[in-house]
Symmetry: C2
Subunit: 364 residues, 2 copies
Amino acid sequence: MSREFDILCSQKSNVIDNFLSTNPIFVCTISYTETSQIPGITFAGANPDVIKYTSPADSEFLFHGRCFSIPGVPATPDGIPTPALLTRTALLLGKIPCIVVNSGSKIAPKVPYVSFGINYGKNIQHEAALQLFETQQAFDYGNVLGNQLSKSNDLVVLGESIPGGTTTALGVLTGLGVDANYKMSSSMPTNPHDLKIRIVQEAIKKYNLSEIKDPFKIVSLLGDPMIPAVAGIATGVIQSGSRVMLAGGTQMAAVLALMSSIKIPFNNICIGTTSYVTQDKNSDLDFLVRSISSDVPILSVNPGLDKSTKNGLLMYDKGVVKEGVGSGGALLTLLLKLGKSLDKDIFLGKLEEEYEKNIENIVV
Amino acid sequence: MSREFDILCSQKSNVIDNFLSTNPIFVCTISYTETSQIPGITFAGANPDVIKYTSPADSEFLFHGRCFSIPGVPATPDGIPTPALLTRTALLLGKIPCIVVNSGSKIAPKVPYVSFGINYGKNIQHEAALQLFETQQAFDYGNVLGNQLSKSNDLVVLGESIPGGTTTALGVLTGLGVDANYKMSSSMPTNPHDLKIRIVQEAIKKYNLSEIKDPFKIVSLLGDPMIPAVAGIATGVIQSGSRVMLAGGTQMAAVLALMSSIKIPFNNICIGTTSYVTQDKNSDLDFLVRSISSDVPILSVNPGLDKSTKNGLLMYDKGVVKEGVGSGGALLTLLLKLGKSLDKDIFLGKLEEEYEKNIENIVV
């Protein structure tokens, strides 16, 4: 019996058709924030010493199905493999092109990448994440890139890989006036809301936020290098008349908040993610997005891993790892390219094939 | 009276139609070779101290119509502006997207660029241009990029900016067994053939070429970082079933020679250049390409600058600057996207507008 994927939408379901695409492209922005070194903040990388390799390794995995910067692949301490596995599978099935943007990764990936020429983000608990010119540059370079991509591609899908990124996203949302406490998602089984809030509040009390009018300054103090880069690319795409999907969870609300604060119109933008995020009881993406704009639909999909025979994939269905490396958006893009019709078993078959080839049989 | 552009072709004219394109992309690979510091080798940059800025400045000009790494724009000592002006105009008129690849530029451009992660080329007169792993990496990263671009784009057009590049191209051609003496083009009014030949011969006598079987080793010893990068991108495009245009003059013969030596099939590749190159009495692109393969057509076009009112553009029609930054190929791509029909005055009008806006009225 055929099990078709269902695309869920936070608005009327005909909105989904606005994002049908014959020629999409996937862009993975990799970044690093030293905030990820705070104990208890992230599971994206099995131990603190290797967290800085997670993003470059993810991007290597997207292109090659294996990593060069680390042995094995990025995984949680429980051995759940990086969601880049889902992303890669969706891109392969859809023959969807992929480019990697390095906006402040601490380690350069061993694949071709678009350089935005800025440093990694500092620990916001102690100091400003970025210098103002870096935040501006990440946005401006993103704008140029988005403008160029929009000439070839009718849908530009923006994923990210930045360990610790929900904490800096909380910083930006809070700094821009969005109540995001207890609404951010997490890569960890028990969402460390109180820790994230404490870090952001400690960061904020160093500054007089009410006097800071420039949203780029807010991002520089409380954010990370991913947020202005993705906001810049999305802005370039929208300003050139094409369409954009922010492929990620609650971090993408921070991207939206920055774009909203500089008055970018939201008529051709959606968020695309997994149902693990939209149905997560411990975070609230829908609330965050609605706080910023009522114009931005959230598309989501259940990747259908409940029928998997692989433990590392079944764990996804339990909601342990919910999103990352644009995996939900990549799967949605595959569906949007295929006219919304795909049997879950076709995706699962290819996913398990990639899992067997690139993860299960790799001796780490 | 309408003055239509004519596309010239070294093979039967119906071959041109094999490269008609609805969704082309232009890739500008920027590189540096210390060989360019040898006095008398290049005019691409008014004086030796600024030659290293020529390529990044060219790529900045493509995106923004102005340069950030230097005041003004790259120009010959006579004030003839960079051919990036023609390239930019063609890309703007055709809404053709552009990306910049940095394969060994000495200076990083102040625009987003795809990093191939390798060093600039050394002076081949004194030492190997590149380490073998760098040459291989430039090719491999190019291959990944070409593979991705071919998923979005039905024609990938590869231009270059590397001052001194015809000398290193002569090195590679000679090393790979192609008789290229007195056949290379030049950015200078008097083509310094004897100087180039002497440099290459001095370089070669340090090695026992007959014992070197690996063409990548030849490129490492006698070439530059542009050649393996462009060969890699072209190979990735061809292997993915799309089509490629090498947008340049005699340097592109060195790219072809490398691809031929590793047995890449030549069914979907052409060279695209200006008629200034194909009709140049002091070089012989046609001979070089035929020496490598009879399967590769050379498309060329006269940019029609004889009617310009601007001295800096009229000088092109005198054949002083003949090619660069893929200008001939970019104009051909515009024509191929427009079904081969365009009035020369439309191009000239836009070109002079860009000239007035970005060059004539800029105080350097």
